[in-house]
Amino acid sequence: MGKNYTASKLSIDKLELIANDIRQDIIKSLEEAGSGHSAGPLGLADIFSALYFDILKHDPENPNWEERDILLLSNGHCVPVQYAAMANAGYFPKDELKTLRKFKSRLQGHPEREKLPGLENTSGPLGCGLSQAAGISLSMKMDKVSHRWIYTVMGDGELNEGNIWEAAMLCSKYNLHNIIGIVDRNNIQIDGTTEHVMPLEDLKAKWESFGWHVIDIDGNDIEAVIDACSMARAIVEKPIVIIAHTVPGKGVDYMEYDYHWHGMPVGLSDVAGAPPKNEQAKVALKELRTLRGKIRNEHE
């Protein structure tokens, strides 16, 4: 039997606290790993708290539960947020997060389906997740399976890849409306801002012209993420993409909005304005603990 998190709702403040835990776990695991991406995973923590603790129908004790929803991480470099969310949801002990990117770890630098139960795809090379979602959805259609949703998280920089738009055309052609794309619109990629490297705007118009229904939200607002996904599940005329505007590095002041932190771990970076290397993790965790207190106070 599987567990349906939507059946036992957690309050928004609880989900915010979980997002805060996920952020602290990201910082700790990246510091321990000594490499990896910081900004994207931190920005996605609210979305992953919402996904694993409210939106997804899934069962950590039975990762292959046949009724589960499918979550595909297309931008595999952001996997530290997925590992942290999975550990918090009970897929594996939180201690294992310390093995991120280490030799023989199940937590590979980029996610590998065969290494860790609960991962649905192998990714890292960008642009493949939406196509895989299409294949899953087409199979469900052939097998007359309904009421299973396929959530596909993509980066905004990833939308530079042609493969994404090949998939976008196909999903629209076959009206694969059980696909809910989530674009992490944090405006940064490795070499700079997305609009500098390869302009994406008007992004909403792009998706609409490819035949998608677009929902635009603040991706750091957990309630907005949950509402958008509820709305998306009710739409049957088109595939749905949620453009989730997030703050890269969210929760750690010296990282927020700074593209230099895209591909950098805490503890090893000379980014201007950052604390000394050996203080970076400490400062980040202190800030996150302060935020945690604020979340508690707000909801008391």
């Binding site: 899953i136 052939m142 097998d143 090949e166």
Partner: protein, 322 residues
């Protein structure tokens, strides 16, 4: 060989290998409802059309988008489907190699990659469409099985075998008609090489359209006093090392012949096997680090030296230099 139920040379037929694939796919689809097919706007020429007509509900047209072709198939394989993806080899695996690696091979999903119009038999289309590097590209990929059938009858059996194989597979097909040497009774198993013609003096290892060239050469060499053994090696990976080593221990001389780049393909695989286990003189025949060009298959095979006559010349050279 009687137990292999091969046709005598004078009774050989003629049909493109892709036709056999088309028949095999329909048969596989009749037996197993999980077999699905995807194509990138080439249904007729890659022979997916018979399946698409018979099972429209199990057919997906992805348009001219080879990256999408294999990644969509990866998602279908995840859901228990057995997806056959077909395009020209120049585009798949030529264009989408990384997607095949990440989403099919490393992800270990049983996606079936059909590379049609591979090799010189593509003829007048020219170098862009004459895929000669596919065998090497696919052989180097962990988890991937690489099959180069010798004729259309074997291509049909290979297709059915692929539907029952849990691994990702690559099947190489040719465009133009090539000789049909085998029959319905000829055995085919993934991973097996077959001694099509036994001999003592020299081992000729071939696959694809070149097995018929090797067979003709062996018959003529026998009249010249050279008793050549022909091994047909349709599975390049995993290679049937036992059959090859047994033969080469006896003959101590080898020719490989394939309609692909000699680096990394069948010649490469055999050289690696023998280099480590049984170093003997070897002559690799194939395309030597150059591209194809427009022409008829016959003109091209002559130009690149893939002829019965050249096999005989090389056999004489090897046998006389001992």
């Amino acid at each position: 060989m009687k137990d292999l139920h091969l046709l005598d040379i004078e009774n050989w037929g003629s049909e493109p290998t892709r036709k056999g694939f088309g028949r095999g796919l329909v048969k596989a689809g009749e037996v197993n409802k999980q077999v699905v097919a995807l194509c990138a706007d080439l249904t007729g020429s890659v022979q997916i059309a018979p399946f698409a007509e018979k099972f429209p509900e199990r057919y997906v047209e992805v348009g001219i988008a080879e990256q999408n072709l294999v990644t969509v198939a990866s998602g279908m394989a995840k859901m228990g489907k057995i997806p056959f993806t077909a395009s020209y080899a120049a585009f798949s695996p030529g264009r989408n190699w990384e997607q095949i690696k990440t989403t099919a091979a490393l992800n270990n999903q049983p996606v079936k990659i059909i590379g049609a119009h591979a090799g010189l038999y593509t003829g007048p289309d020219g170098a862009t469409h004459q895929m000669l590097e596919d065998v090497a590209l696919m052989r180097v990929m962990p988890n991937m099985v690489v099959i180069v059938p010798g004729d259309s009858v074997e291509a049909e059996k290979a297709t059915i075998a692929m539907a029952n194989d849990p691994r990702p597979n690559y099947l190489r097909l040719a465009r133009d008609k090539s000789p049909v040497m085998t029959t319905d009774k000829t055995p085919f198993e993934i991973g097996k090489a077959y001694v099509f013609s036994p001999g003592q003096d020299l081992t000729i290892i071939a696959n694809g359209t070149m097995t018929s060239v090797a067979m003709e050469a062996a018959e003529k060499l026998f009249k010249d006093g050279i008793d050549a053994e022909v091994i047909h090696c349709p599975t390049v990976k995993p290679l049937d090392g036992a059959t090859i080593l047994t033969s080469v221990k006896k003959t101590k001389k080898v020719i490989t012949i394939e309609e692909a780049q000699i680096s990394g393909g069948l010649g490469g695989a055999v050289s690696e096997l023998l280099g480590e286990n049984l170093p003997v003189p070897i002559k690799r025949m194939g395309i030597k680090d150059e591209y194809g060009q427009s022409g008829t298959p016959e003109e091209l095979l002559n130009h690149y030296g893939l002829t019965v006559k050249n096999v005989m010349v090389n056999a004489h050279t090897l046998c006389e230099s001992k």
